[in-house]
């Protein structure tokens, strides 16, 4: 795809939980305008990598965003720098309404006059959220919660969006809907780093993919190439 500037660069990223090394010195780049996906089995280190980028866990190695080193920057500042987040398990606030959930994501934004435009964009993409505005987040269905999670990430207006397993626990039709929205968001100019177990769906929309196996990058290539790769096919796409 269009190879712009390097937006996110990861060098020798190592993440350990006590004695267990979850990520063993991986390096990769995400260019502006891309959809990059990390796929792999449970415990391959996908989510840990994402958590490192989000600033939620300490890591060894270097992560830079737009050339700026992100070591020891707290998670909330990283979001404010322009990395929007769709956390694992959605992280919807059940005691806040849909609208309040969306509002919360604008916390560190100063451009108040732009908010209505962004609400409108979110409601255009997910009309269902507009209907449910006054409803508490906890009363939404799984699919609606995932829409809200993506909507919230849009409200924080990042240059880049990190998604951790957006397909988790969703019916196939909803997964397709979410993924087509992701492609739309990407075409509107947001770079996406997507962690997925649903390798098939993820690789179909991805410009490039990385296959993680027990903390190291096992295969890499364009989405199309990985979809056709027999080794990937056997291990992650169900033969």
């Amino acid at each position: 795809m269009s190879q712009g500037n390097v937006l996110l660069s990861i060098r020798d990223l190592t993440i350990s939980y006590g004695n267990i090394m979850a990520v063993k010195g991986i390096s990769f780049d995400v260019y502006e305008g891309e959809i990059v996906t990390l796929i792999g089995a449970n415990g391959a280190g996908k989510s840990s990598t994402l958590r490192g980028v989000s600033g939620l866990i300490p890591y060894k190695g270097v992560i830079t965003f737009q050339g700026q080193d992100m070591k020891s920057i707290p998670a909330d500042k990283i979001v404010a720098m322009g990395i929007a987040q769709v956390p694992e398990g959605r992280g919807i606030f059940g005691n806040l309404t849909v609208l309040e959930n969306l509002k919360l994501a604008t916390w560190s934004r100063k451009d108040k006059h732009e908010f209505p435009k962004d609400y409108q964009r979110v409601f255009d993409i997910f009309p269902r959220l507009s209907e449910r505005q006054g409803q508490l987040g906890g009363t939404l269905s799984g699919g609606e919660q995932q829409m809200l999670a993506v909507g919230r990430a849009l409200m924080s207006r990042g240059k880049m969006m990190l998604l951790d397993e957006p397909s988790m626990g969703l019916a196939p039709v909803l997964v397709r809907e979410i993924f087509s929205v992701l492609r739309e968001i990407n075409q509107a100019g947001t770079t996406i780093l997507l962690v997925e177990q649903n390798a098939n769906m993820a690789l179909r929309i991805a410009s490039r993919g990385y296959v993680l196996e027990t903390g190291v990058i096992a295969h890499t290539g364009t989405g199309q190439k990985l979809l056709g790769d027999p080794r990937v096919k056997e291990a992650y796409l169900g033969g």
Partner: protein, 351 residues
Amino acid sequence: MSKESSDNGNWKNWLSRQWAKIVTNRKLLPVLLVIGLLLSFAIPQFGLLNQYIVLILIYVGINIILSTSLNLVNGYMGEFSVGHAGFMAVGAYISAILTTKIIPDSLAPWLFPLVVFAGGTGAALIGLMVAIPSFKTRGDYLAIVTLAFLMIVKSLIENIEVIGGPRGIPGITRLTTLPWTFIWVVIAVWVIRNFVYSKFGRGVLSIREDEIASDLMSVNSRQVKMLTFVISSFFAGVAGALFAHILQFISPRVFDIIKSTDILIMVYLGGIGSIAGSILGALIFTILLEVLRPLGMWRMVLMPLVLVVLMIYRPRGIMGLREFRWFVPGYDLIATNLWRKKKEAKDVSTS
């Protein structure tokens, strides 16, 4: 016969509709506030109620300030502070020292609001000092830190001779009147209600739910926690100042863990995460304590029993997470309307 009953039904319907109109009419609020203020002046002035009941009303007011402010930390934010009596003590001592030692008696009634404000500010500063180390870590540390804080405050006061040591400060002028209590209650409820429904309030609620997710929404959780704690301690200090000037005598023993427990009971009785609940909790608790006074020591057995029964049948308290309509701001529907208009326009143009 049937016509009569249907008329009766209509009439009841009409009444309930009118009632709903009154209850949801926000314009009525200033009117009620003015009536309340006038009443608070008139009652002591013309002796409409006896002294004892006026005293109880003042205690209810002070307890409302205490419970709403503690609810901010324990209910809305989901942390657990047991140090409220300590902040009360700070406010009480600062204000009592000001009125007994520094401000001349003739000026004291005029400067009383400032004195109360000073008590609150002192408590807020101490609150900030407690908040800085406590919120460096996550989890249940606040309960332990505030417990330690309460003990430190108590033993500090006991050991400073200038402010009376364990004997306390006697002979404080009775400056807390019903109008002042009313005004401070309104200020406290108004500030806390506006805080809860502000951007920061949303942050507070999100932290209770899931702190990591709230960080990922760019919420500066440390800042939010500190601000919440400082506001909460400010009003504890205000309540302490009012308390000192109605009791007319304060000593370290007044502000012990039992006092903190009382406030906790009010909060959990009324319901966490609800201003209306805190008001109800304070009202019921204060009145119940007075009604049960003839039982002597037994009321200290009965109150916890009431709490246990309540926790079994209504674990979230009386109002738990619900709110009076008046406290909830009108829904911000600008964005919706914008969207709807655009969609309608689109539908018309496509059809």
